[in-house]
Amino acid sequence: MTEQTDVPVSGIHLVGGEMLLWSDLAPTAGKGAVVGRVSWPLLRPLAGRAKTTLILGPHDPGLVGVLLDEGSSVSILVRSSSDAQDIARRYSEVRGLDVYCGAFEQFQPEQQFDLVVALGGVDRLSSVDTGETAWGEIFERVTAMLAPGGRLALGVENQLGVHRIIDTHTPLSDWGDDAWSPRDLAEETRPPGLDELRRRITGSGLVEDGLYGAFPEAQRPTLAVAAPVFEDAQCRGTVTALIKAAFSRGFAGRQVLSDPGTLSRLALQNGLGLQLAPLWIAFLSRPVPDSDSGTPALEPQMIIGEDAPAEYWSVAYEAVPQGESGWVRRTFDDASSAQLRALGRVQRDVGLLNGSTAYGDLLDELLMAMTVRQDLREVRRLVRGYVEWLGTHTVAGPDGRPALSGQHVFATPDNVVTYEGKFDLHDPSWSFNGTAPLNVVLTRSFQRFATRLLHGGYRHPWPTTLNADQLTRTMLAMAEQGITQDDVFTAARLDAEIAAAVNDLSPTEEAARVSSLLADPTTGGSAVEDEVHGYRESLALVSRLRDELRTARGQVEWLDSRLIHRERQLVRLRRTDERLRTSVSYKLGRALTAPLRVPMSRLAHVLRSSAKKSNDTENTST
């Protein structure tokens, strides 16, 4: 810190209120910069048309390079002194960049800009020296920085987004270092909700060119869905799946109040998908006076920014609904996206994402819905259809059993889309360089499903006494697939191998995952670390375990009472026996049969020992 402040990097314009002991790019406290790259494909063409661009607040420093590459000159304002120096150092060889450092309140640019990017919204613009300025005031000042015809990319965090609803902390009890004056508490000028935000935009004389709901977090959006897509019923299945995937990656291993995937699905079903999105990204333009030609509207679409947990695998692509026929997917031009990526036996050929796919639902979603609805007939139909479909892609494995290879090893229910009774891969770019027995792939699929079912405490149509292992076997038995204990072990190893490659795990972590999956097969394995831990789901799980415990106790009590009953019976029988043995008639009988008993017992002894000998010789010969 001292070293950095002592040796200032030249080319930084200090505007006042710069924070010397703070960083949003390398945060030790606070929420950090906006690092979701999902907006980059949208910003690229805008920067290409802009002569001057202003980035307000801390963003992923890579964004600066992206915008400079498009030929726009870039000014950036950050409040942290060390962040400003990092950015200036990183681009010291590049022309066309001006780095400003200080509080937004002190920033008086001499020019207007063709493009203003503020994806963190008005947050993280003010400094400790100036205190927080009202939302409305900052919005007005930002608007005034736009040149006529200029565009503003504004991020607005939804105070009632899914990410906030599931948060275990309330803003009222935020004692974090960045909460010196929490803006979202009692801030009258912040637009309450989406409708008011849109009214405010219109009121300021700006035109909305496009509005996106972004997931899973305001700080790190990885998925952006255009407003009209939320309203298209055909798109719902895919949108639900992508939002759920974004949440399970973004919240992996975190404690939340409730599973964000379930909540999002409910929000979408009730037409509140956009209203409950964690972040809104609005593209606004300032009309040119006395001109009819507006700026071209953005194509309604869906941008998937980062779709894998480790950056190496991640690819950015767009999905555009094409009328009745389905989605058209296009990856964004990028040198790295063209080549085949591989780690161990796991591969990804992102080029395969390009092309059309049908509208439809993820098998996993549908299967879960039918399970919860206790519709066994439909579950059976789906399971059979899925197993049959996978069966058509089998090859002969090394042991002669049917096996899967390549893409279809990844055909787990969460990567299979189903429409009109047909099945297809949702993301065909992943593949496995090797074979895996069909039964192992199926075991992995249904084990994951069964574990999720039990950990979520979800309703299902089977006896509640079944554990995950038994549920897996039961579901597979629906399609007449029998599995062995060996299949269960191999499935756990395959799961860990894939997870290790995709999540960039160390061999130790991979081994831990195997043992965690096999930890206690009778209760459904222990929780895997990359699961989202919802409090509500935990309560359901506690309730299920309580039921299990009650059942087990009931069984113990029942057995206990049977035992007591049998013991009483035994006592009665012993007494009878005693009475008989001490009777005169018994003693008389014993005395009369005594001469016969001795030779009889000798004979029995001889017979027993010869039988034992012949048994032993048989055993050694085998």
Binding site: W22, G102, D129, W175, W180
Partner: protein, 264 residues
């Protein structure tokens, strides 16, 4: 503060916490102050609280500057003001600063029209050589008293003396923005900040130095300063809106039991 709170002012009790000593552009306390965790930090304004909070410190309470409490106790008499009271920013290295003092005096004579009172820091006031330089320039030379250290030798009448002096002058000036300028502005003096700021060589970089102050409060630098803007900033920096009641001070300073004992 003791007098305001209604406890024994001749033997002021220990405050249960830390009270900000002077105007500060960081967290309210000198860099390296070894603060006991969990003990209350009473600061002048919201700025030090925000900065301290961002550095991971909590237990702040904004009470405003003790100066505000003094003003509440000493209502202003009818003023008859003239001349300028000048507070040279104080340093420690005799020889180095001596040269600078001469240049500073030349600047002061150039700007100020009325009589000038030079108020020196006590260790500079005790230096006869330095005092003579200011006296030879025709200035009246004073000092408000000894700062003291570890509860020893502090002049309890320091602020009273400063109040009396500020009321006598029309202008308050210094080569560096500091408590005295804000005190002056709050008394209705015309402020002025100019001249060689005599930057200390080993100033802690966490403060960001003089330049940082200039960027944050450009309105308060120069020979002619807009009094309305200056009063607005002073209101914020001295925390004039945060005046607590005597009972409140007794409670938060941990003096309520003492006050009750005195009443018996």
């Amino acid at each position: 503060m003791a007098r305001y709170a209604g406890v024994d002012e001749r033997n002021p009790p220990r405050i249960l916490g830390y009270l900000q000593h002077g105007w500060n552009i960081l967290d309210g306390f000198a860099v390296g102050t070894n603060l006991l965790p969990g003990l209350a930090k009473f600061v002048w304004s919201d700025g030090p609280r925000r900065r301290g909070w961002s550095m991971g410190r909590r237990d702040y309470m904004v009470v405003g500057a003790p100066w505000n409490y003094l003003l509440a106790l000493e209502p202003e008499p009818a003023p008859e003001r003239k001349g300028t009271i000048w507070y040279p920013f104080h340093g420690w290295e005799g020889q180095q600063i001596l040269g600078d003092h001469n240049r500073l005096i030349a600047q002061i004579r150039e700007v100020e029209v009325g009589p000038v009172t030079a108020c020196l820091y006590f260790n500079e006031f005790r230096n006869p050589l330095l005092r003579r330089i200011y006296e030879e320039a025709g200035f009246r030379v004073i000092s408000h008293g000894v700062r003291g250290r570890s509860y020893q030798g502090t002049d309890p009448r320091f602020l009273y003396k400063q109040l009396a002096e500020l009321r006598r002058h029309r202008r308050v000036a210094s080569n560096r923005l500091g408590s005295a300028i804000f005190y002056g502005i709050s008394m209705g003096c015309e402020p002025s900040v100019y001249g060689d700021p005599m930057i200390l060589q080993e100033e802690d970089p966490a403060f960001g130095g003089m330049a940082r102050m200039r960027r944050l409060w450009p309105e308060l630098h120069g020979q002619e300063i807009d009094i309305t803007a200056a009063q607005e900033i002073t209101r914020v920096e001295l925390g004039q809106d945060y005046l607590a009641s005597p009972a409140e001070i007794r409670e938060v300073f941990g003096w309520s039991k003492l006050a009750r004992a005195d009443a018996k």
